[in-house]
């Protein structure tokens, strides 16, 4: 009987699973918060050279660190990012800066990357390289490791949120859904949320899920458990009253 109840509960709860994440990814996301990103000189495709602070002072930045000779995560990572952000077309509360951490990458490589992604000339996306890449990657604790056997860099798929003052407000590691991106965009626009949930594989029922788009909490399945007893009591009251209606009528009649 108990197992049946548990199974029923499990069936109703599938919608509340959060992304399963490794502990280490969550840990790395919590470094450098409210520290300043290194103000590197940038060579931006299709634009004049600028320093990083000139860029983020204009609009808060989502920094994506990739390299063009990547045969691994970089391309799917950028494609996913583009897809997820497509609903934010025309939204000028952020700009994505795709920056290469590979010293071999030059402006032509970056231009080709932009074209391949269909983002060449897109106002929300900037593609760039910098001479001071090691200082910059150090300031965001990004640590690519060269694998000489595969001739590839081993690295995290990292997004760094940087607000208009150059402070790192949030980091995301891995391929992320829209909700997380919205949280990132909120954080670089200095929207303060007094709490956030840690990733947990097995947690089923929660009261609320914060929706960064509206800045409000959306009711979760767990809220039903809070409301259920009052609803049940009301139903009980009405049912009992209906069931004993006859004996009530009889009493009135007798009186």
């Amino acid at each position: 009987m108990l197992k049946n109840i548990v199974s029923l509960l499990l069936i109703f709860s599938f919608c509340n699973f959060t992304d399963a994440q490794t502990t280490s990814a969550a840990l790395k996301e919590e470094t450098n918060i409210y520290e300043r990103v290194y103000d590197a000189p940038l060579q931006v495709v299709g634009q004049q050279s600028a320093t990083f602070d000139e860029l983020y002072a204009q609009r808060p930045v989502i920094l994506a660190l990739i390299f063009t000779r990547c045969t691994g995560i970089c391309n799917p990572f950028l494609v996913k990012l583009k897809e997820t952000l497509q609903f934010k077309d025309g939204d000028n509360s952020f700009r994505v800066l795709v920056l290469s951490f590979d010293p071999r990458d030059n402006m032509n490589d970056m231009h080709r990357l932009a074209q391949n992604l269909g983002l060449d000339g897109n106002e929300q996306w900037a593609f760039a390289i910098t001479e001071n890449i090691s200082e910059l990657t150090q300031s965001v604790s990004f640590d690519p490791v060269w694998d000489s056997a595969r001739q590839q860099f081993d690295h995290d798929a990292l997004l760094v949120g940087i607000n208009k003052e150059g402070y790192i407000t949030k980091k995301l590691i891995g391929l992320r859904e829209r909700g997380d991106l919205d949280l990132l965009i909120g954080s670089i626009n200095n929207v303060f949320v007094p709490t956030y949930r840690l990733p947990n594989q097995n947690m089923l029922f929660s009261c609320f899920n914060y929706d960064p788009v509206t800045g409000k909490n959306k009711p979760g399945l767990g809220l039903i458990f809070l409301a259920l007893p009052a609803v049940l009591t009301a139903s009980l009251l009405i049912s009992i009253s209906l069931l004993v209606r006859r004996s009530r009528r009889r009493k009135v009649h007798l009186n």
Binding site: T23, E30, Y34, F192, V193, T195
Partner: protein, 180 residues
Amino acid sequence: MQQSSILLLFFFLMGIALIVFTYIYLSSKKADQGMSNPLKKRFWFFLILTIIMGIFASVTIPKSPYFAFADKTPAKVIHVAAIQFAFFLSEKAIDREKPSGQQIELPVNEVIEFRVTSFDVNHGFAIYDESNRLITQTQAMPGYVNRLRYKFEEPGKYNVLCLEYCGVAHQLMRTSFVVK
């Protein structure tokens, strides 16, 4: 100091209640005429009480701590992880598998953000100043991170106690940091 005002307010209200109840009790030993116009008096009593409560609510609700310093950029973020029965304080994120902390020094007159969580049961993260007065707190709930922002205006050593009962060594759970 907030706690002194609270205690004074309480004693004041308690005093009024004691006087009123005693007066009413003593009046019952006298003439047998009861209260004149009780409905009218009840209405005024209700109205005055509602106005007082309304004033208190409208003054105090905006002072709620949830969005304190929300529009400021903190000078430092301190990660706090509570376990049975210790606190880890660190400027870096705390690894659940290998938790470790460090001696924390905070700048005075700057906004500090504490990111508080628990790795096991509910704990409390309560900051006491040098005169052992509780100045701010938040809960440490497993699975969640609470962000507490505070500006320390006085340099000195601040103690942290666990204020949410968490088991047999709850009273021993403490840490401290320095504000310079």
